[in-house]
Amino acid sequence: MESLSDTLWDVVICGTGLQQSLLALALSRSDKKVLHIDPHDYYGGQDAALSLQEAESWVADVEAGKEPSFRSALITKPDGSTGLGFPRAYSLALSPQLIHARSALLEQLVSSRAYRQVEFLAVGSFFIFNPAQDPSQKPTLARIPSTREDVFLTTAIPTKAKRGLMKFLKFVLDYESSPQTDLWQPDAEAPLTEFLSRQFKMDTELQTYIITLSLSLDGKITTKDGLAVIRRHLSSMGMYGPGFAAIYPKWGGLSEIAQISCRAGAVGGAVYMLGTGIKAMKEGEDPIEVELTSGDVIKTRSLVRSGNDATGQIETARLVAVVGSPIKSLFEATAEGAPTPAVAVVAFPAGSLSTPGGKASEYPAYVSVHSSDTGECPNGQSVLYMTTLATSESQEILDQALDSFLGAVGDDQAPQCLYKLQYKRLEGSTQSPAHGSIFDFTIPSTSLSFNDSTLEPVRDAWKMVMGDAAVDAEYMQFTDREGAAEDDDL
């Protein structure tokens, strides 16, 4: 084959995070010459799923400042805990977002036929944590009714409140049409909670239900944004089967989507090199000359990189915990014919937790609970992904959330925590993506549910690489590949 440096590449993509990988997928049927590299030894970059060994070296890299969007990473194994499986049996997702059925990401995965390589699992119930009323009692988890029938049947909500809730649910499905808009537009930028209380007479408890469904990190989502995400949630419900609104890719969430996208790129002829980054480059030249860390000097018409995430606007605190129990009670199918969910979401409303010093939590905390069906841990265990906005107390709050959660789901004995990985992550970088033939991905501020705005820069990068050959209507529209040969009989 031609050597790397003899080829004039149309694009060098550096990084195999979700966005860069989707770009490789988008280019996989073009005749563009694509060189796709990643300084890491694994696929997925900031969206990777890590085995326990990989997590260990990742923590070391974060602490050495090699991962600009992460900091304060630490692994701890609680004293006396036993039962952790072998390191490769785990696949801890750095991006465990759930994906709503009405996400444009799923649309693109279907139209590009890439979805066939991914196994999706149902995200089941959403719960709200209720602290114990007094020390003799256990904290509890209340399930948020998820379908009309559910709301109708639930005994947890008084009939009068139900009416307000039903009215709101009906309203939100059509909130963008004309008479409804008058109701909310004047309050568009005000907090959703105020709107809910004024227009639908919802009490704090019902407001909390709605805020939880919005997965708002600060709990102060605006009416405009809140209505949009609630509508997405409700209209996603039942789309791919009864009883669930969102799905999750098996084996580590967005990491898996990145990997199958890279594979599509490879099948399309892109050249892949892991453990290789950009060492130096001569900008302002056409073609751009890039020196790789492997020593190769290559020429390319364009270059796509990951943004320097240290410019992020939002910082979240994360805690990934492996727990020695399947926590079966969270993974019950709630509708007839529904698949067994592999993911459940538990929200800790603002104020429901407190630090050891007695300070109440300022923001909500969320826990995505993953069963072993996700392939992220061995049978009999589960993985908790906990998130809250970073503050000086956020780590303590997450530890408290973990303890409270384990106390709420245990019968006689709280399940044991076997392993903890904590870190902070910067999100929502702001720098401008494109300059000439160089494109830097900006990371939209991620939420707990996949945000479609992540996809827009991918399309922009695709346009830059394709130039005049970019036909919008053909973006991510592919047929199944057939590599059929003659039959063989035995």
Partner: protein
């Protein structure tokens, strides 16, 4: 027939060092072609689909040919998922290619499910007479140590070319656990993206 989606599908991977003869073997098996002195290393991933009848039943084989060159590490962990069998190919006329096989076995074993069918293939059998650097006994012993099947083939002379494919498929379909996975493909709780159903807040909405 070959495009029939309804047939049970088996996923087979060919892995091994660069130049071992993976692409040549696959091209000979699927297209009955052979290019002597080809210098085209596989860079991405190639795949071919072939329908193979075993014991009177047709199976749709998806055969993935991968790049052996270390720098083009196209094999992500997700690549191995769902694989029913892995063919590990070395070159009997290059001792170094054989010595590297432990690493390839380790990678295959680490990324696949227990019970996956492994098949060790010694390629370029036509060179046995003058250039053999690995004995068949060595090959067989390594295969046995990993619970793998074994044979030697030549893409050039066609000798044994069908054998590894037929035997690995035969081995897979004999294993109820693996073949069950082949039939249903996915776990019980998984979601299919082409289905549509009711049960939500929305009556069947067309948006």
């Amino acid at each position: 027939m070959a495009s029939d989606d309804s047939l049970p599908t088996l996923k087979l991977l060919l892995i091994g060092p660069s130049g071992a003869g993976k692409s040549a073997l696959l091209t000979r098996y699927c297209d009955d072609e052979f290019e002597p002195d080809s210098s085209t290393a596989t860079i991405g991933i190639d795949f071919k689909i072939k329908v193979l009848n075993v014991r009177g039943k047709p199976y749709r084989l998806t055969l993935f040919d991968t790049a052996g060159q270390e720098r083009f590490r196209t094999l992500s962990t997700s690549f191995y998922r769902g694989a029913h069998g892995v063919l590990l190919v070395y070159d009997i006329s290059t001792r170094a290619s054989f010595l590297g096989m432990e690493k390839w076995f380790a990678e295959a074993e680490a990324n696949t499910v227990e019970g996956v069918a492994l098949y060790l293939v010694g390629a370029k059998l036509d060179k046995a007479e003058h250039n053999r650097e690995v004995t068949p006994e060595e090959g067989r012993a390594l295969a046995e140590a990993h619970g793998a099947l074994f044979c030697e083939v030549s893409a050039k002379s066609r000798e044994n070319v069908r054998r590894p494919f037929v035997e690995i498929v035969d081995h897979i379909v004999e294993d109820p656990a693996l073949i069950h996975a082949a039939k249903t493909g996915r776990a019980a709780g998984s979601v299919t993206l082409d289905s549509n159903s009711e049960g939500g807040y929305l009556p069947n909405c067309s948006c």
